[in-house]
């Protein structure tokens, strides 16, 4: 497996091998699915849209509908204006969404299509809405695309005439699973805090099988809710890479205070979120959630010896792996390598601080890296476990270490869309995965005389 990856590391400045990120539009498409009755539309040639739908469908094992401007060579010469206009007219006539969320692609960006201008000159049916985000993939990553489309929801849909407070918090969950979004909503409900979550893909991309296909399932934040965001008391934005842009936009246009926190993965990040909620609302901690936290601590003390002291390599999206790094430290593990494909100094700063606070010195971390490099680090100084998305499976097999699947995309296992990794419950689930992976490996490989019943 990956036999051509050498231990010796040669500098590469132009060739990316086994990327740890993908392109903006897929993140934008995913975010757009978190609006109720929204059809994402990809402005470019149809291949991009096809790829994005395929990858989302593989990850969620659920239908992902999105339309495309279907550029041909002519559109490249004359611009994509008529393709988008025709496209939007057909979309409203045939698929009848309430909202169309247009994202650009490398092609339409390179051509320089002015979406605002095109959409303004298109006849949009009464009561329907079109929003858009610029998502050129030669900048940032899929996380940036998610962030851009989430921000676009605020820019295009928030009613700027602020009325009175609506008594709600705006919550931006970040580029996480629908199961995580549902869990965050549950936690706020336990706190008795009304929220508007956006985007909200729960119920949309993990929809039930009822024998009936709903092109627009029940889930998703509604346009009315989005338009009312300006009346929220405060915003909680989870994950600076995917959520802060929208939070700052909301602060800018409607003066709703932005609070940017980590995605609540692990005990510390979840505690931080709860503290912030209590601080903003003046409410007390929910009894049930405190009970769950106690269970988590109980688990951490009871089975720490399954994983304490183990070295781990973590890769994926910044907003997921920053709190995950913090979490494995709280489990007594050593995050030896932390790598994201998404560019950005903020990542290296955040990880640097977490490691320094924990007194961990000889770990390596990098933003804008690729999996070949991560693998080579591991070849030079091995670790016991790999945490990351499905693409880590090649390395995991090559180095014969367990892979804990976390983040986007997961193409070869199920569970991520149904069971959360956020909150205290999610932390327990992660511990179960980590512990089980180590013990399964031990049980499979140990000698008969070392094989034990109780562990």
């Amino acid at each position: 497996m990956l036999n051509e990856t050498t231990k010796e590391i040669k500098d590469r400045s132009a060739l990316v091998v086994n990327p740890a990120k993908t392109c903006q539009p897929i993140g934008a498409m995913y975010a757009a699915l978190g609006i109720h009755k929204c059809l994402p539309h990809s402005h470019g040639s149809q291949g991009c849209c096809s790829f994005h739908r395929m990858h989302l469908a593989r990850h969620y094992r659920d239908p992902i509908a999105a339309s495309t401007s279907s550029f041909t060579e002519g559109a490249c010469v004359f611009g994509g204006k008529s393709n988008l206009k025709t496209g939007l007219e057909n979309v409203f006539a045939i698929y009848k969404p309430d909202v169309v969320a247009v994202n650009t692609t490398c092609l339409s960006e390179t051509i320089g299509d002015d979406l605002n201008d095109i959409i303004l000159s298109t006849k949009i049916p009464e009561g329907k809405t079109v929003i858009y985000a610029n998502t050129p993939s030669y900048q940032g990553s899929h996380v940036t695309g998610f962030s851009n489309m989430t921000k676009a929801m605020v820019t295009h849909l928030v009613n700027k005439n602020k009325l009175i407070g609506n008594g709600r918090l705006a919550v931006i969950p970040g580029y996480v699973e629908p199961s995580d979004m549902a869990e965050i909503k549950r936690m706020f409900a336990m706190m008795n805090v009304p929220i508007t979550m956006f985007p909200d893909t729960s119920g949309v991309v993990n929809s039930p099988n009822t024998g009936k296909y709903e092109m627009y399932p029940e889930g998703g934040v509604t346009v009315e809710e989005l338009s009312d965001l300006g009346n929220c008391e405060s915003t909680i934005a989870l994950g600076s890479f995917s959520s802060e842009a929208a939070a700052f936009e909301l602060e800018k246009i409607a003066d709703v205070e932005a609070n940017v926190l980590n995605v609540p993965i692990g005990i510390k990040a979840t505690d931080d979120m709860m503290m912030k909620v209590m601080e903003i609302t003046g409410l007390e901690m929910s009894k049930e959630l405190e009970f769950e936290r106690g269970q988590l601590v109980d688990l951490m003390t009871d089975i720490h010896f399954h994983y304490h002291g183990k070295k781990v390599a973590i890769f994926g999206d910044p907003d997921i792996i920053i709190p995950m790094t913090e979490f494995v430290i709280s489990l007594g593990m050593i995050p030896k390598y932390i790598l994201t494909g998404t560019p950005g100094n903020a990542f290296e700063k955040a990880i640097g601080k977490i490691l320094a606070d924990a007194g961990i010195e000889d770990s390596k971390f990098k933003a804008g890296g690729d999996l070949m490099e991560l693998h080579q680090w591991m070849k030079n100084d091995p670790v016991d476990m790999l945490i990351g998305n499905t693409y880590g499976k090649y390395i995991s097999r090559a180095e014969d270490i367990p892979l804990i699947r976390l983040g986007f995309p997961i193409l070869d296992r199920v569970g991520h869309s149904l069971f959360p990794v956020v909150g205290y419950k999610g932390a327990m689930r992660l511990i179960e995965k980590i512990s089980t992976a180590f013990l399964d490996k031990y049980d499979r490989e140990c000698d008969d005389d070392d094989f034990e019943l109780v562990m």
């Binding site: 497996m1 990956l2 036999n3 051509e4 050498t6 040669k10 590469r12 400045s13 132009a14 060739l15 990316v16 091998v17 086994n18 990327p19 990120k21 993908t22 392109c23 903006q24 539309h41 040639s45 149809q46 291949g47 096809s50 790829f51 994005h52 739908r53 990858h55 094992r61 239908p63 992902i64 509908a65 999105a66 339309s67 495309t68 279907s70 041909t72 060579e73 025709t86 496209g87 007219e89 057909n90 979309v91 006539a93 045939i94 698929y95 692609t105 490398c106 092609l107 390179t110 051509i111 050129p136 030669y138 990553s141 929809s207 099988n209 009822t210 024998g211 009936k212 296909y213 709903e214």
Partner: protein, 538 residues
């Protein structure tokens, strides 16, 4: 029997006028034996939720990507390469001493500055790094959308790299906006392989093996090629080159040394098959390795072509053996699927190839269509002279080759070839429609809305398509199988493959989950009333 005409009208009715006019020409109701005209290989209307992909997907994704020992660099922003990484299931085992890059993903990950100032330099540097890090047998460079627009000269960069590093560097201008689907990319890939690879390594006469075959348009999805080759080898053939599943660069370079080209996926590779015949004198035969009868017929046809008595008798022997091994299993699965109906909407050949196999387990295909087929894939190659080329197709380079005086070799005497053409599918493909039953429907570039409508109206038991349709169809309570990835199973080709397919299909249709879609409280009338009233119900 459903009134298909009414159904078609109903589907079209929901469209805006212009869309209706366009889509009407892509739908044919087969009412008799006659083959009607269908429109295909034309632009998808903007806004339509199509299943189609782009030229890059057809070029790098389908044809070039499976070559095992090449570093396939995708020149463009990161996404295009990322999505084609490990998702197509083209398997490959490198030969002793060769390298295998199938699990790798290479991209120049173009950044904004590359778009503004040009990406040539970055590409040149990427090739250099690929050579230094991996030392591959050859390199491919595939351009994605923005590259053509900013005017990077990838061919120049490739040429210079070839000189500098002494290995082949093949550049493909397969930008996604070219043509109207993956099909343009197949053509672009075919051209380059023909121009620069095929014919470059000769096998000395003394090393040539008799009965040498190439399998064209076979990509070893789920191990199909291995299963096909197993049977061919057993009969006594030598499979020289497969294009391009499980192939190494040199295999392709040697392809012109074989005796016959077998064409499985007509759409993606027919250009090469034609050009090899013109240049090297090797005919091609349309084959179908899917299903028991198709497989047996194909084997018999190949044997007839060679006309060797031993070969012919071994063919019958092997067919007999293989069939006897699977017949009980096939009967078992047929029993489970008999009388059910199927729909097939796949790429450019499988929507045709699988109809026989489905028939063998008792299932009729009532609707079929291609994502990116041309009229000849539907109506047969006789229609080719009458196909009007539109601007999108004319933009794809059409290369012409000439007889290579040194390497041209008639495989069999010209008169015998002419005789054989009367009985064998030599240099010919009759298309999908000829095999479809009466009162079936053929839809080209079937889209999201049409899929929903035909499923609702005809309620088949099986919908064979891709991952973009699968889950929508299954939400409607109908089993949908991915026919590109086989739902991660396989092989499906050949005799043993037929059993795998039958087993998976029977399981998919009969898995107990379907019986739970409607909860019991929605199926049975609930007893209302209090406990005291219980006696009333007794």
């Amino acid at each position: 029997m459903k009134d298909m005409n009414k159904l078609v009208d109903k589907i079209l009715d929901a469209y805006p006028a212009k869309v209706m006019k366009n889509r009407k020409e892509h739908i044919v109701h087969k009412e008799s034996d006659e083959i009607s005209v269908i429109n295909a290989n034309t632009r998808t209307i903007p806004g339509i939720i199509t299943n189609r992909g782009c030229a890059y997907a057809g070029c790098k994704g389908v044809v070039i990507g499976p070559i095992i020992d090449m570093v396939h660099i995708v020149h463009g922003p990161v996404g295009c390469s990322y999505y084609a990484w490990g998702t197509r299931r083209n398997k490959g085992r490198a030969k002793e001493g060769s390298k295998n890059f199938l699990n790798y993903c290479f991209t120049t990950d173009m950044q904004e500055s590359d778009i503004v100032f040009g990406g040539d330099k970055k590409l040149a540097q990427a090739i250099k790094e690929a050579v230094e890090t991996f030392n591959p047998r050859a390199i491919s460079v595939s351009a994605t959308c923005p590259v053509g627009l900013i005017g990077d000269d990838i061919h120049m960069v490739a040429k210079q790299a070839e000189k500098e590093y002494g290995i082949p560097v093949l550049a493909f201008s397969c930008e996604g906006y070219k043509g109207v689907s993956q099909s343009a990319g197949h053509h672009i890939a075919n051209n380059k392989l023909m121009k620069d690879v095929i014919g470059t390594i000769d096998i000395p006469e003394e090393d040539k093996k008799p009965f040498s075959l190439n399998i064209l348009g076979e990509y070893n999805i789920g191990g199909d090629e291995w299963e096909i080759s197993r049977v061919l080898n057993k009969i006594g053939y030598n499979v020289l080159t497969t294009m391009t599943g499980n192939a190494e660069y040199e295999d392709i370079a040697k392809a012109h040394n074989a005796d016959l080209n077998l064409v499985q996926c007509h759409r993606s590779i027919n250009y090469i098959a034609d050009m090899i015949e013109i240049k090297y004198g090797m005919p091609w035969m349309k084959v179908n390795f899917i299903g028991m009868e198709n497989m047996s017929n194909t084997l018999r046809n190949i044997a007839t072509y060679f006309g060797d008595a031993d070969l012919i008798s071994r063919t019958e022997q092997v067919i007999g053996q293989e069939m006897s091994e699977i017949k009980d299993d096939m009967a078992y699965y047929k029993n489970m699927c008999d009388g059910k109906t199927a729909m097939l909407f796949v790429g450019g050949s499988r929507a045709h190839h699988y109809q026989g196999l489905l028939g063998e387990i008792g299932m009729d295909t009532i609707l079929a269509g291609y994502e990116f087929g041309h009229r000849d894939d539907y109506e047969g190659r006789d229609v080719i002279p009458y196909i009007k080329l539109d601007a999108d197709t004319r933009n794809i380079e059409e290369i012409t080759v000439e007889k290579d005086e040194k390497k041209y070799r008639l495989r069999i005497p010209a008169e015998r070839l002419e005789e054989l053409k009367k009985v064998l599918p030599l240099n010919n493909y009759a298309g999908l429609m000829a095999d479809m039953k009466e009162n079936s429907v053929v839809i080209d570039d079937l889209n999201h809305y049409e899929t929903e409508a035909v499923i609702k109206a005809l309620k088949p038991s099986f919908f064979g398509s891709g991952v973009k349709d699968k889950y929508m169809v299954q939400k409607m309570g109908i089993y949908s199988k991915q026919m590109h990835s086989y739902d991660y199973s396989g092989p499906y080709a050949g005799y043993k493959g037929a059993v795998n397919f039958a087993r998976d299909t029977a399981a998919g249709i009969h898995t107990p989950a379907w019986s739970y879609t409607i909860p019991p409280w929605k199926k049975e009338p609930m007893l209302v009333g209090k406990v005291e009233g219980a006696e009333e119900a007794c």
